[in-house]
């Protein structure tokens, strides 16, 4: 998908954008539904997010993210802005120095990294994986998660932290 995003960035390639839409729109809709939006508004937000992907593609830097991470970040921000009813202050773009490796090599490295993360995610205990998914996907506040599952706040937070720590360790083990 990162190649498609680069084609959108560099060539305003509509066919590549169509591929991004096919892959991400249903997943983003699931994310918005999980976050409590209704079907119609979830689709509206997905359209907003994908519209931003088209217009902000020039800012995409494959040295800092793959397509999924970058688009997830846009969707997360969009949902936060909706909840706050005004834009969240955003950091400036940080660019890697020009001289670094070419995009293609970096895209591969990022893909590998995402693969390691996915493997590590697969090895988590089910309740850890679910807590992580809730934190990322449903983006409920920690206290809401606690309310819903009946678990005390400390447990939830430490479970998310534990999930992240375990991921880090798994990654450290895999990494050369």
């Amino acid at each position: 998908m990162t190649e498609a995003l680069l084609a959108v960035r560099d060539h305003r390639d509509r066919e590549a954008f169509g591929r991004l839409f096919d892959h991400f729109a249903p997943r983003l809709k699931a994310m918005m539904l999980a976050g409590g939006l209704r079907d119609g508004s979830a689709e509206d937000v997905v359209q907003d997010v994908m519209f931003s992907v088209w217009h902000k593609a020039a800012q995409f830097d494959p040295h800092r993210a793959n397509a999924s991470a970058w688009i997830y970040g846009i969707a997360r921000n969009r949902r936060i802005d909706l909840a706050r009813r005004k834009p969240m202050p955003q950091p400036d773009e940080l660019y890697e120095p020009e001289s670094l490796e070419p995009d293609a090599a970096q895209v591969l490295a990022m893909q590998e990294e995402a693969g390691h993360l996915a493997e590590a995610l697969g090895r988590l205990a089910p309740e850890q994986a679910e807590a992580l998914r809730a934190a990322y996907f449903e983006e409920l506040s920690h206290s809401r998660i606690s309310e819903m599952t009946g678990m005390p706040l400390g447990t939830i937070k430490s479970r998310i932290r534990l999930g992240l720590e375990r991921l880090r360790h798994e990654l450290a083990r895999i990494a050369p």
Partner: protein, 210 residues
Amino acid sequence: MSGVNHHIPDDLLDEWHAGTLPEPFAVVVATHLSICETCRARMEAIDMLGGVVLDHERGAPMSGDAKSRMMAALDGPMPKPAPAPSGIFPSAVMEALGGGPPRWRMLGGGIRQQILMSDEAGSLRLLYIPPGRAVPEHGHQGLELTLVLQGSFSDSGGSFHRGDVETAHAEIDHQPIAGEGDPCICLAATDAPLRFNSMLPRLLQPIFRI
């Protein structure tokens, strides 16, 4: 870009990422993330995992004409971009400044400030402290984040340069002194009004809004 030694505390970074941080602190965090590669990479790693979760989700089908409507909308007008960064001020600060340069107010002793926000969520201001000058000693009623945009200051917490953030809690009375060289320009957010110990009587504070 490198050389940042004092970072945003983990819990505040988490709150920023979840979008629950009050506006004045959110501006300081966005500013720090514009300068600090370390904290920025941490946020990017969190989004990387978010992307993996997204990729593994079974999608919810979009309605039949969603894609054709999307493709037709692509040529629509671009959303209004945030103000561009300018000099020492990242975009988040330019936004809080309303897109223009600071309009300083003199506080005495060569110290200047501009209040950028002040409401029940807390306050955000820019401070300008000439080299070698002490900011009047003050305690805090709540949490205060002070980020250096230019120059430096030091106090009992250490030495702070561009991008560094000092996190001070209610119990800390500190006396920052601006370093030599460029005047020290800081972005400071509090969730409560400051209590200056010496410079102005307490009763006058609401009038001067410090």
